[in-house]
Point group: C2
Chain length 330, copies 2
DNA sequence: AATAATTGCTAAAACGATTTAGTCAAAATG
DNA sequence: CATTTTGACTAAATCGTTTTAGCAATTATT
């Protein structure tokens, strides 16, 4: 039951393993191997159930046909859907994907990148966390192919796939204003990241263009750790300014979920009066009997573009970094 | 900028690479290498930034410290959460995970298992699809370590982690009956799989124990492909028996989501009169202003147990297959 | 003092591919 | 006819580990 190697086949046929290797890699023509010989090899290989040993291949060539996916949390629907899209598109290029969750902690990013590099992944698709600048710069220095998704660092040259956070956010707020909103609270998350800053800027600009004054007390910034607690505090503070607030804008879906849950628990009445809107959504949004509106991320497209980019980097070693911005759906 | 190898270190220190290898693998004591030498090696290795080449390691030892995860769809919350739990527990044992989605199509299972085997994964965690019996038997024959999760085939000896589908289903229906339900429709999915059959049996038994006659016309079986269409047809047929139906029981969360969406679109009034319950749930269930009750799967636990099992199989080669059944939360 | 055991270390094979640089004969070219 | 080209194939190095078998020198045992 032992595995069949190139050598086994070559011995069986009385030829060199070089020849067998060439045939198995489809390089028969190029290496002027006679058609009958090529056929004989192919036949014997199938007959003996030959399967190339990947480890040997990787050791020799350095290519593993595997890409690493590093995200905040695979169990989060956004990343889960992204992972699926990446899987599908990677498969088309004959790549598999190995994933790791960071929980937005840069120490985990570092560890994960380290081990995936060791395991010879050909490239990385990364949704970076706050503080990942150093490790990303390191990747640049080592010329490791990688693509950033969802977030990026403007000060670092990278290949990037993001959505148009500013415009998306602007449109959401603008629509709310058109529908009569006047006092719009904004709950942001991981505000240090550019994409979140852009969402904030979109919010500000929309207010400005509508002639609504920006009020700092209506904006709250939260972080990943202890989100449950933080959102409670933030909501309480906002409620103390109530009832003038007519709309709450959450900068992502997770925040929105927690926020709405909190209101359901504590102030159902307020919830029935206020409008809720969020940048991101869940698939169940239309089930809710709440006036929630949202912008939807083109997740499939993000995954596709990210894979196309990384494969291009791996296989063609193109050098000029691209930033690809996709529109969000309203 | 080339990678540092064992040999580089050995040359630098004027010792054999055997020695360096022993030290790097923590076998210094066992191999009677002097403490000072061990220390010297460790120091030099760190200084030179040595990192073992995994491909070489895998080629030599056959171990990749990677497990393969094969599920229906990583973007489905159930599997996404499972993937996260598996990732966390795998990490504790120094394993990474590489995933693939089958879309419940056995042809995809076969392909995925094939390529993951080629890539030297040490073991597989699989949520099998209908028709996977053949490939699973093959794994048994080849003595490839694997663990089935969520579903299994009673006729095949396997290591398995499942929930108590019968009891869970029984409890859900029983509770509904206690709350006054008399005519309970059941929408099942992938009914050929044992776990789904068990959910059905739990439903039947609960009816029986309550003295409610079983009615075949209240039960609908759906399949993965074309679920959207199928659920519409099924719901329409059920509605035609309405309004005597007072409860609809969905055998999983996806079904429930689609079913409720359908009702919201077409017959909101009916939805307000009927009780909805499902075996599985989504994290947003308590947001809904609908009388939906459900049983919750212990996903974290499933992942943990599955990883423990597979690691045990890989490292200790234990032989007697275990079926581990976990209770569902109500 | 002769033998046995221990200590500290190493040479070389093996894992299974890919690839460079040939070889040798037959055919083409001038 | 001498030389070049082509066609068909191969030997051997290489990728970077792990591991078996064994070698000297030192220490312990009787």
């Amino acid at each position: 039951m032992k595995k069949v190697s190139l050598e086994d086949i070559s011995k069986e046929l009385g030829v060199s393993k070089t020849l067998v290797s060439f045939v198995m890699n489809g390089r028969a023509k190029e290496q002027r191997i006679s058609d009958e010989m090529a056929e004989k090899v192919l036949k014997k290989a199938k007959e003996m159930g030959y399967e190339a040993n990947y480890a040997a291949k990787v050791l020799r060539t350095g290519k593993s046909d595997t890409i690493g996916l590093i995200i905040a949390d695979i169990s989060n629907t956004f990343f889960a859907k992204l992972a699926r899209s990446i899987e599908n598109n990677a498969q088309k290029h004959k790549y598999n994907v190995i994933y790791g969750s960071t929980d937005e902690d840069t120490r985990n990013s570092v560890k994960l990148i380290e081990v995936l590099k060791k395991k010879n992944v050909d490239g990385l698709i990364i949704s970076p966390s706050i503080g990942d600048q150093k490790i990303i710069k390191q990747l640049n220095k080592e010329k490791i192919p990688y693509v950033l998704v969802d977030r990026y660092f403007p000060e670092i040259q990278s290949d990037v796939v993001v959505v148009n956070n500013f415009q998306g956010s602007y449109d959401i707020i603008n629509r709310a204003i058109e529908q009569g909103s006047k006092k719009i609270a904004f709950l942001n998350f991981n505000a240090e990241l550019v994409n979140m800053q852009d969402r904030f800027k979109g919010y500000q600009q929309a207010l400005k263009d509508a002639g609504i004054p920006y009020e700092e007390k209506l904006v709250k910034n939260l972080n990943f750790s202890n989100m449950d607690k933080e959102i409670e505090t933030a909501m309480k503070e906002l409620l103390s300014i109530s009832p003038t607030i007519d709309t709450i804008y959450f900068s992502n879906n997770q925040l929105m979920l927690l926020g709405v849950k909190y209101l359901l628990r504590t102030d159902k009445e307020f919830l029935s009066k206020v409008k809720v809107t969020s940048f991101d959504c869940y698939e169940f949004m239309d089930l809710l009997d709440l006036p929630i509106s949202y912008g939807e991320q083109p997740i499939k497209e993000i995954g596709k573009v990210a894979v196309d980019l990384i494969v291009d980097k791996i296989e063609n070693k193109h050098t000029t970094p691209k930033i690809i911005t996709l529109p969000i759906k309203n």
